[in-house]
Structures are given as C-alpha cells and as structure tokens.
C-alpha cells in the first residue's frame, strides 16, 4: 500500500461529510477520471459562512482522505477563511501525503474553492439581476 499516515487512513476509512446537498449554494468539481481522481464539492452558505459541505470523490485512498479532510477543515469557516485552505495545509493536517500522491489526489482545496467561486458568481449574477 502507499505509505499513508494514520490520519489519512482514518479519513479514508471513515470519511466525513460524504454525500450531496440538494439545492446547494455552490458546486465545485476538480480533476477528471482520466487521471484517476475526481472530486465534487457541494456547499451551503449562510452569513458568509460554510454552513454545510458535502462531497463525492472518485479516486485513490489519498483523494478520499483529502476530500474528507477539506470538508472538515472548511466546515463553519467564513468563505475568506476557506479560500485560504491550500493543498499544503490539507496535507499537513493529514500528517503528510506520499510524494507521488501530492499532486493528483490533493485536489480537495481546489474543488472547494471552485464551489465557493460558483456560489460567489451566482450571488453576483443574482445581485446583477436584482439591480
């Protein structure tokens, strides 16, 4: 097996926040199955905070653990705070990732950011509509 930390194994075996959100405020998808890893993040936003986060992930053990960890790290955070989560900070929280796993499977932060951007652009579109 790849040499995964205890934390990675924990999140792989017991991933937090797996699922989808009906009528989410934002959706972000990153990666593609050609490379072997793909993640979809769903978010609910309230008062500029991530009230709920769910994800679905196709990929290796690291990809699943990363998704779970990102959802946990971001839960309840303000959007600004969540945007500051980086692949490196996720890997650190996970007690490290194998070198060759860093780039392909560490897409969680990007997927979350995409979901937030999706939310923000929808907000902006709505704001424009309202105007």
């Amino acid at each position: 097996m790849p040499v995964y930390s205890e934390k990675v194994m924990d999140h792989f075996m017991h991933p937090r926040n797996v699922g989808e959100i009906e009528n989410p405020d934002g959706i972000g998808e990153e990666g593609n199955p050609v490379c072997g890893d793909m993640m979809t993040f769903y978010i609910k936003v309230k008062d500029n905070r991530l009230e709920d986060i769910k994800f679905k992930t196709f990929g290796c053990g690291a990809a699943i653990a990363v998704s779970s960890m990102v959802s946990e790290m971001a839960m309840g955070k303000t959007l600004d705070e969540a945007m500051k989560i980086t692949p490196t900070s996720v890997a650190e929280e996970l007690q490290g990732l194998p070198k060759n796993k860093f780039h392909c499977s560490n897409l969680g932060a990007q997927a979350l950011h995409k979901a937030i951007e999706d939310y923000l652009s929808k907000q902006k579109a709505q704001g424009e509509k309202k105007e």
Binding site: M1, P2, V34, G36, K56, G59, C60, N100, C104
Partner: protein, 395 residues
C-alpha cells in the same frame, strides 16, 4: 482474519521443494561456478543441471539457455541484443502495443538509438491479429517481438501464426513467455520462435532469476559485458541458488502442469462468472476463452482501483489493479487503453490471479467481500451518482 493471496501474476510463493533445492546453495555449496576447484565444480554442475531442467520445460537444447537476473533483464537483453546484432541489416522493429514495459520500453530505447518502431494494435480482447503483424513488416524489419500471454488481461496470443509470418519473411522473432512458461505448455519448436524470455518467480520459483532462450545460430549482443559466463553472452557471477531454484521450479512445472491447470481453471471460471453476477456494471477484461488458467480480470465501473485494493487488503485479500493510482507511473494501464477501454473504466481495473494455494473458499470469500466494498465506494463516487441520475432521467 482470512488471508487470500490472489495476486499470483505479481509473483508466486516458492514451492517448498524449490526452497529445499536452494538451501544447500545458501550454505555449504557456495563456490563460484567459474572457479577451478571442487567448490567451483559443484556450483557449475548445479547450474548446468538447472539449465537442462529449464531446457526440458521449453523443449530446447540446454546450451541455448542463458540465465539472467530477471524477466525484465531477459526482455531487455532480447530486444536490444537481437536488434543491435542485426543493425547492419536494418533498423526497424515491431512489437505489440500491449507488451510488458520491459519489452516496450526496451523497444523505445532502440528508437532513441536510431531504430524505427511499429507498435501493432490489439482488439478488444487484447488479441494481436497476425495480419496486422504481416502488414507492419518492412524491408528493413530485423526483429518482431510479441508476448505469449499478457499478464494483465490473461489473453494468450497467436504466437505460432505470428512466428510463421516472421519466418516467411526471415525476421528474427522473440516472444516474452514470462506469463506462460511454467504455467501452460511452451515448446520453442512448436511455437516456432527464435528467442523466448521466462522468469522464475512466475511459476513458484525464486525472484532474481530469469532465462533467455536463443536458438543456435541467432546472433545476440550481450547486455551485460564482462567475463565469459553463460558462453560469453551474459557476464557476472551466476546467482547459483536462484538458478538452482529456477531449475527445480521448471522440473516441477513440467511434471504437474496439467494438474495445475486443472486446479486453477475452475477457480478462474467461477470468479469470471460470479463477480459480474453479484455486482452490477462489472466487465471481464481479456479474452473470454484464450486466457491463462488462473487469470481473472475485470473492470469495475464508477470506482477507482487503489481504494478498492485498500478495502480488500483490510479484508485480507491481495489483488492488483491497472489503475493510474496503483501504477507508480500514475498512468492507467497501457494494455487496457490499447484494448479500447476508456480511461475512466480502466481506473476500475481489478486483477485476481489464482495460484496453487487457492481454493474454492477463496472464491466464495472474494465474492462475498467485494460487493459491499464496491457499493461503499460507489456511494462516494460522483461518477456513479451522475450515472444513476442520467439513467433515472432516461426512464
């Protein structure tokens, strides 16, 4: 916990008889076969006896068998050595698209050295069409190499037909028989090949040893220069214990081949039938009939191989996958891709290979353990939820 090793294509355990045969050579009998004294003589006689055993396995003359350090070395030696020895005649080489990397990458190294390379395609079963080989032949073709069977999808190739085409065109033909020698009947005369690779750890022999058989009269450049061991064709102090083990494994394989095939085939057939029956959206890869006796391979849709392997490992089951994440090169299996399988589907590649230690209970266990794992991963998979939505939408 039950422990089920279903990864015999990766490597097989040593048979106790093989280990017994090797042990003296890790002890009292330690001489260098090149040495001119009793210690050397005993070692050399053991190496020669093993050479005879390997020759018998493949229907060859002992002096045509060259011991190497691995299947990979045999393939490198064959492809580079046979091409380089003939480069004055031409610089075009033909291989199949599904060769093992040790053959394929050797051929690509030849490209860097000024050779031209044609990679012959395969059909959806991973089968090479001999006509495609015929069409790939040019005036300057000096070497054709097509594997006897593919270790990832189990498909057995029509080597006899391809060898005949090579012969008609007076082109040297090598086959990588690493997945077949010791497993199914391999006879160099019947196959009609000029060179053939095999490896010990594929049929209950040791790691660290392989062999290349080269028909007398066919020229080959050494890959390892140095002393005149192995008739000057492969230098280096012989790995005596491993060579002895390979010889013993060859002898045992020859003696019990049909019994082994009879043991493995029903296990394979059960799994090929029962896994797709117990899990939706599972396809068998490789040829439905012309496949290695212990070889069952699949693609499980919507999920990725590594996470499947991890959960199976937690249940005590060892298998392989050709997914990108499980390859250390992080690319989906070139074999599956060459068969026209999509990258997405290739990620769910699952390879179960039976060995002499496996039983019907192992099949039962696998068929029991895998469905909930697949289910669990699919519940997490965005691809699966898209599929479900799309099929619901379609209804």
């Amino acid at each position: 916990m039950r422990k089920v090793y279903l990864d015999n294509a990766a490597t097989t355990p040593l048979l106790p008889e093989v280990r017994e045969a090797m042990l003296p050579f890790l002890g009292e009998v330690f001489g260098n076969p090149s040495s001119l004294h009793d210690w050397g003589d005993t070692a050399r006689q053991a190496v020669d006896a093993a050479r005879e055993q390997v020759a018998v396995l493949i229907g060859a003359n002992a002096e045509e068998v060259i011991f190497t350090g691995s299947g990979t070395e045999s393939n490198n030696f064959a492809i580079k050595g046979l091409a380089l020895a003939q480069q004055s005649k031409g610089k075009h080489v033909v291989v199949s698209a599904i060769e093992h990397f040790s053959a394929l990458h050797s051929a690509r190294t030849l490209e860097k050295w000024g050779f031209e390379l044609t990679e012959v395609p395969v059909d959806k079963y991973g089968m090479v069409n001999p006509d495609d080989v015929r069409e790939s032949i040019r005036k300057d073709t000096v070497l054709i190499s097509v594997m006897h069977a593919n270790g990832e999808v189990g498909t057995i190739e029509p080597i006899k037909e391809i060898a005949r085409i090579a012969k008609e065109n007076k082109i040297v033909f090598h086959t990588d028989a690493i997945a077949t020698a010791g497993t199914i009947p391999v006879d160099v005369k019947e196959l009609g090949v000029d060179a053939l690779s095999l490896a010990g750890n594929q049929f209950y022999g040791p790691k660290g040893v392989g062999a290349l058989w080269v028909r007398r009269g066919v020229r080959i450049m050494p890959l390892l220069d140095g002393g005149v061991q192995e008739g000057g064709r492969r230098a280096g102090t012989e790995n005596v214990p491993a060579i002895v083990g390979l010889g013993k494994a060859a002898e045992l394989a020859k003696a019990s081949m049909s019994a082994r095939i009879k043991q493995l085939t029903p296990l394979r057939d059960r799994l090929l039938k029962e896994l797709p029956a117990s899990i939706e959206h599972v396809m068998v890869t490789g040829h439905p009939q012309n496949r290695l006796p212990g070889h069952a391979s699949f693609c499980v849709e919507f999920i990725e191989g590594e996470s499947m392997l991890m959960f199976l490992n937690m249940e005590g089951i060892a298998v392989s996958s050709g997914s990108a994440c499980t390859s250390r090169a992080l690319k989906a299996s070139h074999v599956l891709i060459a068969m026209g399988i999509s990258h997405e589907l290739a990620q769910g590649s699952l390879l179960c290979t039976f060995g002499l230690d496996n039983t019907d209970e192992d099949v039962d266990y696998m068929v029991k353990v895998l469905p909930p794992i697949v289910d669990r991963l699919r519940q997490m998979s965005p691809l699966y939820s898209k599929f479900i939505k799309a099929s619901k939408g379609g209804k």
